[in-house]
Symmetry: C2
Subunit: 146 residues, 2 copies
DNA sequence: TTGATAAATTTGCATTTGCAAATGTTGTAA
DNA sequence: TTACAACATTTGCAAATGCAAATTTATCAA
């Protein structure tokens, strides 16, 4: 026996996955359009982000940290190299992997790019109080912890 | 003057946008692989979801509810029509729009498909208590309310 | 050693996506 | 009534993405 019969509009707006998908796509397109102002785009963002965090990673390491496919990493790096933002250097101990390193120009972008990302986050989070933000972050981290 | 100098690994894992992106892509690929078991995929999911919620929508209405591009709607419907799950019927008052309607087969899929989506949500939310889930939902809805 | 298996990266090809323009339809102001 | 702008949808073509196979190098067991 169904308890709630009415309100056919409810389901989608209470589906957690749907809400997250909408939120994510908003954040993504917002950041993308900002990044384009400085010649970047959302595709290269995770890679650069990871490298600013730790330079000289291997491609597989980048693949893991960016949660993308290996061939995506290859192509993203091709593009970033063409833009002169990173370069592939030989790995000191293994000839089958590369070390991906930021160039001076690549390093220089960190400040403006991360400022943009923070602005995006700020924008979407502005609806919440400081306390609520902490709460939200804790909950999300819990979800991802598994 | 910088206060926090150390801990270079922090930024990405505390970037709200990044966390949401990771979470969203997890949920998406999880649901996609489940849907494929019944001949669907993540691409047609929002459209079907919207139609199960309210049948006989116009394509523009679908576009808005699914947060996609108009040409994506066109193509998704092409695919769904080919699968015999929806059909485009003439609009009663305007010859330039269509009414998109579920076929019997399309309607029949609702039960199994939404069960799959719920299972995905359940899986990822299993880390949280009932109280925490409500909290999280409230916060996310607040973000999307703007 | 050598041959087989696995790892790191790249590439060819097919599918999907996105942009911009095209098509057909409606509203509206002169 | 007739131009002209706005709408709803589709389509051609270029760029991005995904899969499966290829390439090169490393490991390991016989």
């Amino acid at each position: 026996m169904k308890i709630v019969e009415s309100d056919a509009l409810l389901p989608r707006h209470t589906s957690f996955g749907w809400l997250i998908a909408v939120l994510a796509s908003q954040l993504e397109s917002d950041l993308d359009s900002r990044l384009r102002e400085i010649g970047l785009n959302i595709g290269s963002w995770p890679t650069l982000f990871a490298l600013w965090e730790e330079d000289g990673l291997t491609q597989t390491e980048l693949t893991n940290r960016c949660h993308t496919a290996h061939y995506t990493t290859t192509r993203t790096l091709d593009a970033l190299e063409k833009q002169g933002l990173v370069e592939r250097r030989p790995h000191p101990t293994s000839r089958r992997s590369h070390l991906v390193c930021l160039t001076a120009r690549g390093k220089k972008l960190e400040t403006s790019a991360t400022a943009m990302a923070q602005a995006c986050n700020e924008d979407v989070l502005s609806a919440l109080s400081a306390k609520e933000r902490t709460q939200l972050n804790t909950l999300i981290l819990k979800l991802l912890a598994e």
